[in-house]
């Protein structure tokens, strides 16, 4: 049999097989579409939460690094005496107060969102 003959025969078989495989066009399965839609929306929400968490983590990491760097720099300044008698607005007291406030804000109870 020539190659063309074999190709024609294959084509005929392909057509018959395609006819056997043919299925009637069905309407979209809305239950399945809804399932995927809900999963996609859940993914979208998760992605938003993840993004917010990473942003918060970035900000807090930067803040922590800044505080740590401040302590390192203060440590390099050498020994110094804390004059508590200078009054409540000395730089050391103000720095301590800022640290306490920062900790208080960080450790505040998170309000419930109801979700």
């Amino acid at each position: 049999m020539t190659e063309d003959g074999a190709n024609t025969e294959d084509r005929l078989i392909d057509e018959r097989l395609a006819a056997l495989f043919a299925t009637a066009q069905a309407l979209p399965d809305e239950a399945f579409v809804g399932r995927v839609e809900r999963a996609v929306l859940a993914e979208q929400r998760m992605a938003a939460v993840r993004k917010a968490l990473w942003r918060r983590f970035g900000i807090e990491a930067a803040g922590s690094i800044a505080v740590a760097a401040a302590f390192v720099l203060l440590g390099r300044l050498g020994p110094f005496t804390l004059e508590l008698g200078e009054g409540p607005f000395s730089p050391a007291v103000a720095a301590g107060l800022a640290l306490v406030l920062w900790l208080a804000v960080e450790m505040r109870p998170v309000p419930r969102t109801g979700r």
Binding site: I13, L17, F21, D29, V36, V40, E43
Partner: protein, 171 residues
């Protein structure tokens, strides 16, 4: 730009409604492909995973080839991953069907394609489903299955011979 490309572009920008329209347009083909590939076992879960992966990878679609072809490629990859994870083998497929080898004709003359497909290995089954069932060209099917064109043609030839014999399509 065709409708799928426009919807895919919007989906890549995070438009879930556009993606839902794509799901509505292509779920039939993807589920039919996976259902026959897996013979119904977990096909809908795989189809859902396929669409979720398509959503996550929406930004990577370059508009080369059809969107359906791109989805089919993801579906095929998902199927292979699930199949390998479960550690299934062709031997088991054979065992399930070995007592029922002749292709069955029902009262209306419809041929039991699924039983004939079960005799093929997974690559032959996928190639047959894509080329005969979904009307893909050989190059499209090769792209979907991630094999060279020559290899795909060999796979299709084997599938054709086996199906023609099993389904009594006379040469």
């Amino acid at each position: 730009m065709d409708q799928d490309s426009e919807l895919a572009r919007r989906a890549a920008a995070g438009d879930a409604a556009a993606f839902t329209a794509l799901v509505r347009a292509h779920e039939g083909a993807v589920r039919r492909f996976l259902s026959r590939l897996t013979r119904g076992d977990g096909a809908d879960d795989l189809a859902q995973e396929t669409f979720l992966k398509a959503w996550r990878m929406a930004g990577t679609w370059r508009g080369e080839g059809s969107y359906r072809g791109w989805l089919m490629r993801i579906a095929w990859t998902q199927f292979l991953g699930a199949h390998r994870a479960r550690g299934r083998s062709d031997a088991r497929d054979q065992a399930v069907y070995e007592s029922d080898t002749p292709a069955r004709h029902d009262a209306e003359g419809a041929i039991d394609l699924d039983r004939a497909l079960a005799d093929l290995d997974e690559r032959e089954r996928a190639a047959a489903l894509l080329c005969f069932g979904e009307g893909c060209s050989h190059s499209e099917a090769a792209e979907i299955m991630g094999v060279p064109l020559g290899t795909l043609k060999s796979i299709v030839a084997r599938a054709r011979t086996a199906l023609a014999a099993r389904l009594e399509v006379v040469r």
